[in-house]
């Protein structure tokens, strides 16, 4: 019975899923042990939560880019929406909900929901377009979101929320608190994010994406990607299908953003600019389109790489750039590709031979 269960975990369809979960859980356990025995430098410790956040955002983006096949250059915009929603929700609830864990979870859910709503609003025009035009509009929306949050002033007192735009005209009653201050963003945020919640969020994101992919929606999403006209011809509504992938992707970025925002005492809106969107896209492409385990690994390595290269000081970002280019050149090299395919084939044959004998 037990053996049956284990062999089922590793069968074709479940294998990639099992590997992803195991990877995350094992990494979590190792890091927890290292952290409690003092084996982690404070710098690495400070990166634990951000790595979780970017992993979740990248998993979401992989659904959008890898499975749905639409290039999205505005994922940071959704992270931004999630982050500042999370900060505001946590700030407003600070006095009424004193349990930080509960408050964090509420903030994450709120971040995910608002980002999903934003994804829906943006998705209506975006998904009417195709190819690079769609990509540029997601870029434009990312810029618009950044620009709007940079100019938003939000505060609250006993009379509720007060908002103003472009200029700070918010005047608060006694005991009031500013949540967002235009280009300065959020300051004095209570840091309630934890690594454990980050890992749980990754596991949730994996479950959501995997469960969706191996279902009616997943087949439709990949069908629309592979052949739009054929998908229509078998009665699939392409717009709704793409919208679903877009919204889930946005909400995961929102959840990730909320966790990210509550990990720092100050956060400026400029943090989530075009470069951040590109960064998340790089994680996804290097990890492999449609490959969740790859996304997790590449996000972790690429987030840590600049820190690991810290001893090289000024050269580290240059090396980072070279690594990016070289990886792309190597993985797309026809000669190396055929070599790799042959190697894989001989490995499979070797395994089969061993089984038969």
């Amino acid at each position: 019975m037990m053996k049956n269960f284990i062999s089922k975990l590793f069968d074709q369809k479940l294998r990639s899923r099992t590997i992803s979960y195991l990877l995350v859980i094992i990494a979590f356990i190792i890091l927890q042990i290292m952290s409690s025995t003092g084996g982690l430098s404070s710098l690495l410790k400070s990166l634990l939560v951000p790595v979780c956040c970017y992993t979740v955002a990248a998993i979401g983006l992989n659904l959008n880019v890898g499975f749905s096949g639409e290039l999205n250059l505005g994922q940071a915009g959704f992270m931004s929406v999630g982050a500042f929603t999370g900060i505001c929700v946590s700030g407003v609830l600070a006095s009424s909900i004193t349990n930080p864990l509960l408050r964090l979870i509420i903030a994450i859910v709120a971040g995910a929901l608002i980002a999903a709503a934003m994804g829906y609003i943006i998705g209506i025009p975006v998904l009417k377009l195709q190819g690079d035009y769609l990509a540029i509009v997601t870029l434009a929306f990312g810029q618009i979101i950044k620009s709007l949050i940079t100019n938003m002033y939000l505060g609250f007192d006993e009379n509720g929320l007060h908002m103003s735009f472009v200029e700070n005209k918010v005047s608060l009653g006694a005991g009031g608190k500013m949540l967002l201050q235009g280009p300065m963003g959020a300051t004095g945020t209570q840091r309630i994010a934890t690594f454990t919640i980050g890992v749980i969020l990754i596991l949730c994101a994996l479950t959501i994406v995997y469960n969706l992919i191996y279902s009616k929606s997943g087949r439709a999403i990949m069908g629309c990607r592979d052949n739009r006209i054929a998908a229509e011809s078998i009665g699939i509504n392409v717009a709704n299908t793409k919208m679903l992938a877009f919204i889930i992707s946005a909400s995961l970025a929102g959840a990730a953003g909320a966790l990210y925002g509550l990990n720092y005492s100050t956060l400026v809106p400029n943090k989530f600019d075009f470069n951040t969107s590109i960064l998340i896209l790089v994680f996804v492409v290097l990890g492999g389109l449609g490959n969740m385990t790859g996304t997790i690994i590449s996000t972790t390595i690429l987030m840590l790489l600049p820190e690991l290269l810290r001893s090289l000081q000024d050269y580290r970002m240059l090396i980072y750039a070279v690594v990016l280019i070289v990886i792309m050149l190597v993985t797309n090299n026809a000669f190396l590709q055929t070599k790799a395919a042959k190697l894989r084939e001989s490995l499979i044959k070797g395994k089969k031979g061993a089984k038969q004998s």
Binding site: Q12, T207, I208, N211, L212, Y214, S215, K216, S217, G218, R219, A220, M222, G223, R225, D226, N227, I229, A230, A231, E232, S233, I234, G235, I236, N237, V238, L244
Partner: protein
């Protein structure tokens, strides 16, 4: 089932169908009727507008003139997706499979509208999800068996040989549970033996599911072998219509195919 019990109702009724691309009239004044449980051939020289007719029937192109009625229902305001839901499924001349999905997932994708569970059901893996997935799994295997693809179910669709891909397209179209199946050159690229097998499969599909089939084909052996009626078009206009024997002896058809 005896001959008399078979439903012979009118499935597809096309009247004065026409389409213009810019100033060019690709199809004009085409009328066509397809009854249930029959196999009808649509033939004509290259460029005659056969695939354009299919594209209008499935609303990939909007017709400029004329009406298309499916079981008495006008399809004028329908999209490709609606037309499929109303009962027309098709295959494509240049194969359009979901290359990266497995063979069986291609068929399951065809059952999209039969499945009623929501995305939330799939995320939370509810009972409804498992029940319906199990049901369509069985149905998909059944279809694959009919098309001789069951042993290849888990392979990526793009890795199938040409003939297999054409048969998989038929299986996927049948998965949508159509009343009318449109086959666009189903035997293209097949060798004589494969074509022979395909003819049996098409007949079996018709007899088993009791649907109407309209097919475009250049292989005259297939057309004359399985079609009960044939419509010939040339330069977008109807040239002749009748039984295979009538078409074979029609002087206008012979002239169109062989030239003066």
């Amino acid at each position: 089932m005896s001959e008399n019990n078979i439903d012979r109702s009118l499935i597809l009724e096309v009247e004065d169908l026409g389409i213009d691309f810019g100033g060019l009239t690709a199809v004009n004044n085409l009328s066509l009727k397809v009854y249930n449980n029959e196999i009808v051939g649509l033939i004509g020289p290259n460029g005659a507008g056969k695939t354009t007719v299919f594209n209008m029937l499935t609303k990939v192109y909007q017709p400029s003139r004329g009406t298309i009625r499916l079981c008495g229902q006008d399809t004028a305001r329908m999209t490709t997706e609606d037309v499929n839901k109303a009962g027309i499924a098709r295959t494509f001349q240049n194969i359009r499979l979901f290359q990266n999905l497995s063979v069986i997932d291609n068929v399951k994708a065809g059952m999209h509208n039969e499945i009623t569970y929501s995305p939330a059901d799939s995320i939370f893996r509810t009972r409804k999800y498992y029940a319906q997935e199990k049901q369509i799994e069985e149905k998909a295997h059944e279809l694959l068996k009919i098309m001789g693809l069951d042993s290849l179910a888990e392979l990526p669709a793009g890795s199938l040989p040409y003939g297999g891909q054409r048969r998989l397209e038929i299986a996927r179209a049948m998965a949508t549970d159509p009343k009318l199946l449109l086959l666009d050159e189903p035997a293209a690229g097949m060798n004589p033996q494969e074509t022979e097998e395909l003819m049996d499969m098409i007949r079996f599909v018709r007899d088993h599911f009791h649907i109407a089939i309209l097919l475009i084909e250049h292989d005259m052996k297939l057309v004359m072998g399985i079609c009960e009626r044939i419509t010939v078009i040339n330069f977008g206009m109807m040239l002749a219509s009748g039984t295979p024997e009538e078409i074979q002896s029609n002087p206008a058809v012979i002239k169109a195919y062989l030239g003066e």
